[in-house]
């Protein structure tokens, strides 16, 4: 099976040969990992992204256009997964967590952050309710755009727009405070 071309292996998988997929995984895991590591800059997370990409590939393998090059398709799936991973990564500090910690245990910098957090919370209270919802879900609940979209029954692009406008409004309010 190792000598078969990618396209032949894909045809085998489509015909019900699950083992052929194992060869595709073996053949591409290293290349994909190098590619994803370059994008996400984290060795272990890159393996998770690669694994998710293979699962997505399997789920959509029946829709692969055999006239196109398989590796391009696989790399585009992986690139999309890497981008979603970067988007869903939670780089923000949860203000709730900071607010709930007793200030005696906090280093000075965190106390300052806590005060900042309270200021931000106050500012959030003053903005439009629809923006408030989005900003709370994004920053306090650490939800991704997709998850917020599902929660509020809104398209992802609308969430993105709401968040941008919310940040603008917050900036204005915070300058005033």
């Amino acid at each position: 099976m190792e000598t078969l071309s990618d396209e032949a292996l894909v045809r085998e998988v489509k015909a019900g040969n699950v083992a052929a997929f194992e060869d595709l995984v073996r053949r591409y895991q290293g290349k994909l990992h190098s590619f994803v590591t370059y994008v996400v800059r984290d060795h272990d997370s890159a393996w998770d992204v690669v694994q998710e990409s293979f699962i997505s590939l399997y789920k959509t393998i029946d829709r692969i256009d055999s006239s196109k090059k398989f590796s391009s398709y696989l790399f585009s799936i992986t690139r999309n997964h890497a981008i979603s991973y970067l988007r869903n990564r939670t780089p923000h500090a949860s203000l709730n967590e900071i607010a709930s910690l007793p200030s005696s245990e906090l280093p000075e910098s965190l106390v300052e952050q806590n005060e900042e957090g309270k200021k931000i919370e106050k500012a959030i209270d003053t903005i439009d309710i629809k923006y408030k919802k989005v900003i709370s879900l994004y920053y306090f609940e650490d939800l991704s755009y997709e998850e917020i979209g599902k929660c509020l029954h809104l398209p992802v692009n609308t969430i993105r727009t709401h968040l941008r406008r919310a940040k603008k409004a917050l900036r204005r309010v915070l300058i005033d405070i």
Binding site: G16, V18, E22, Q29, F54, I55
Partner: protein, 132 residues
């Protein structure tokens, strides 16, 4: 030295779980539709039989147990009468269901073969992982 990672096993375990669920769902839907249409087909045929029995239409066919001369003289009239007595609406539905079943069986043949192969492979994988 850099640690060599191989995710093949974990990917394949997830694929097998996914494929088991997907194949089972497909087979459930396939057999569900097939059984339902067969029930409708059986129902139509049974209804037609009951109607023919109530009208005593079956008795017409007894002519074919008679002497050869009687059969020769009356078989055409008898069959025409039998045809006229048939509950055509019910039989039309029955034919529709029968046609659907045949078409369904033919059109899903390729997919059934794929499913059969997939399920055989999954069973083989399961057995080998249980043994090891």
């Amino acid at each position: 030295m850099k640690k060599r990672v191989d995710i093949t096993k974990s990917v394949m375990e997830r694929i097998v779980r996914f494929e088991e669920r997907r194949s089972k769902r497909w087979l459930t839907i396939f057999w569900g539709i097939a059984i339902l249409v067969t029930i409708f087909l059986g129902g139509s045929l049974l209804q037609a039989y009951i109607i023919l029995s109530e009208r005593r239409t079956w008795d017409l066919l007894e002519i074919f147990y008679q002497d050869r001369e009687i059969i020769t003289e009356f078989w055409q009239d008898t069959l025409l009468m039998f045809w006229a007595e048939l509950p055509q609406n019910t039989l039309l539905w029955g034919s529709g269901f029968a046609l659907f079943l045949v078409g369904y069986w033919i059109f899903t043949r390729h997919q059934r073969q794929i499913m059969k192969r997939r399920l055989a492979e999954l069973a083989k994988r399961k057995n080998s992982s249980n043994n090891s």
